[in-house]
Symmetry: C2
Subunit: 344 residues, 2 copies
């Protein structure tokens, strides 16, 4: 009798996480929140501690033929910081584990580490430990982050109430379109190694892909304005996918206005150049690491003039679903086609 074999690609990343989370029981009273949000929440006397981890794998998450090692190191830290930001917390310590093959020299690893140190400095976190080991092939980076948040300031994916305003920071789709540019330049280079990459006019979106920022600046501003979002997460898998997460956890639907979606001109123009729909890039491109959150209507005046927070929609009853309201007023069901590293 053949053993049952279920392919991971049939499940997808979220399906696998759901499967694995089945039957996990929590033994420690200090565990406030386990699997299922941007970070785990642990009670530590006066505060909540926040714990999160992210793994970057060569050939899946990055391609060293166009990703400079310092940028990669920076990104590995920033994506973890972003998970803590998404809980309205402050990152404080990180550990860094790396598996590397012997094609990497000390100088290469120092370059990678220099980016991590730069990010640690920018985000005011301490690199406190890690593990360094060999690999048979390729580079794997695993960063874990410990942060903290005041108990009355924590934000989950759950918590949005009806009529709350849906907010997104920065601009979206840039990292995805930047990746298209890098992939095209790589193919051009492979076809003709004398060609130099033409990246000047794509500088912003290439940077969005290679060296994303975590929006700790927004977290600090929200604190100063005394605003606690009702729900929040970071946008790593694409806006539409994240709207569905907030919807599922908060048990509300969202109406998202196409004409309010933030897109940079370079993202827009380059999408058009690549025959890609800019709105699809905004909705389904990943890795922007902006924040998606909801606020109560009464907090709107405090943020109204903010140059980098965009009011892209509002929460509604769950039965109304998650819809995109197009420029001409049509209501289209929102579709999530987030990045899925297991099916790629």
């Amino acid at each position: 009798m053949a053993e049952k074999r279920t392919e991971l690609s049939d499940l997808g990343e979220f399906g696998l996480i759901d499967k694995l989370a089945e039957g996990i029981s929590l033994n420690n009273s200090s565990t406030v929140k386990g699997i299922g949000d941007d970070a785990a929440v642990v009670e530590k006397d006066e505060h909540f501690a926040l714990l999160s981890t992210d793994m970057l794998v060569e050939g899946i998450h990055f391609d060293l033929s166009y990703c400079p090692l310092p940028h990669l190191g920076y990104k590995a830290v920033a994506v973890n910081v972003s998970d803590i930001a998404a809980m309205n917390g402050k990152p404080e310590q990180i550990t860094v584990s790396m598996a590397l093959s012997n094609r990497f020299s000390l100088e290469a690893i120092e370059a990678l580490y220099s980016g991590m140190k730069a990010a640690a400095n920018d985000y005011n976190v301490d690199i406190v430990g890690g593990d360094t080991t060999a690999s048979k092939s390729g580079l794997v980076i695993s960063v874990s982050v410990l942060g903290q948040v005041a108990k009355n300031k924590i934000t989950y994916r759950k918590g949005s109430g009806q009529n709350d305003i849906l907010c997104a920071t920065g601009d979206l789709g840039g990292a995805f379109i930047g990746l298209q540019v890098l992939e095209r330049e790589k193919q051009t280079f492979l076809a003709n190694p004398d060609m130099q990459p033409q990246l000047d006019k794509y500088q912003y979106i290439v940077q969005r892909q290679l060296k994303p920022s975590a929006r700790m600046d927004i977290i600090h501003e929200l604190k100063e304005l005394d605003i606690v979002p009702t729900s929040m997460m970071d946008i790593s898998d694409g806006l539409a996918s994240e709207v569905f997460h907030l919807s599922k956890h908060s048990q509300v639907g969202f109406a998202v206005y196409e004409d309010q979606l933030p897109i940079d001109k370079q993202t827009y123009d380059t999408a058009v150049e690549f025959n890609l729909d800019p709105i699809t890039a905004v909705l389904n491109g990943g890795e922007d690491y902006e924040l998606l959150f909801t606020i109560k209507q009464e907090d709107h005046p405090k943020l109204e003039k903010h140059r980098d927070i965009h009011f892209i929609g509002h929460a509604q009853t769950l039965d109304k679903g998650n819809v995109l309201i197009t420029k001409n007023g049509n209501h289209v069901p929102l579709k999530a086609q987030g990045w899925d590293h297991l099916s790629s």
Copy 2:
């Protein structure tokens, strides 16, 4: 001009860690101890939080041709728990990240995870998060652990005073000799796939290799006996290597008595069968995950009758160095030849 290229194998793991730790500054006042002990130490109001991480890489740390997936999952958790034990702490939460190629099915990952859940249960820790992603080849597991310890109970590698008694738990060398058995059976199987592995008489040492235990039982007993070791670490790279770590951090030398070294009969007999020196296996075999610690002389009576704690030596002035006192009374300089996954 050629760029400088330093091979990682020339540096070794500890050399690399030292290089990378250079120029790391600590920005957070909550960071009590960064790189350089079994776990990082973070101040959390009443307690210290402990943070550690370990990465296991297929083809380097494990070979799936003889390592059952549930055992591997168990080990990935146990080695992290062991790092928290080594700080005299209690593990509470872990995150699990995995990179896996498409040769793994859902059933395989569930088998791996079942071992992690079993270990989580045994050590009373909660699996609170993680990251699951694809890899181009092989399996990489990265586990991070968050623990805690009372401020007056923490033990570092630093702290041993002269004349303190050096203690080791359990028995040593078994995991290393168990690995030799598994490797031999693998070669036999590869040469003749009809041969079935003959592991019955090696059951204990094979288990030592495949499914090590973290000695949380000892940590709990020390607490009950109101003993705080003066220094401690876990024995993952081989006893001799760890003695050098305690020596360096505590600025003392150690005299280790050959006739006090704990070795199981199966380890001894099998070492002889493999033409390996049993004492070398005890001193330099890795992955036993026992505890090595020092206590004040006055605490000795409390532990004297303990069946599983062995008094293998004592601390002396640094200038006397680290020496092995052989059965016939010779003083031989101790040599560390720990495992080094970077030169393999």
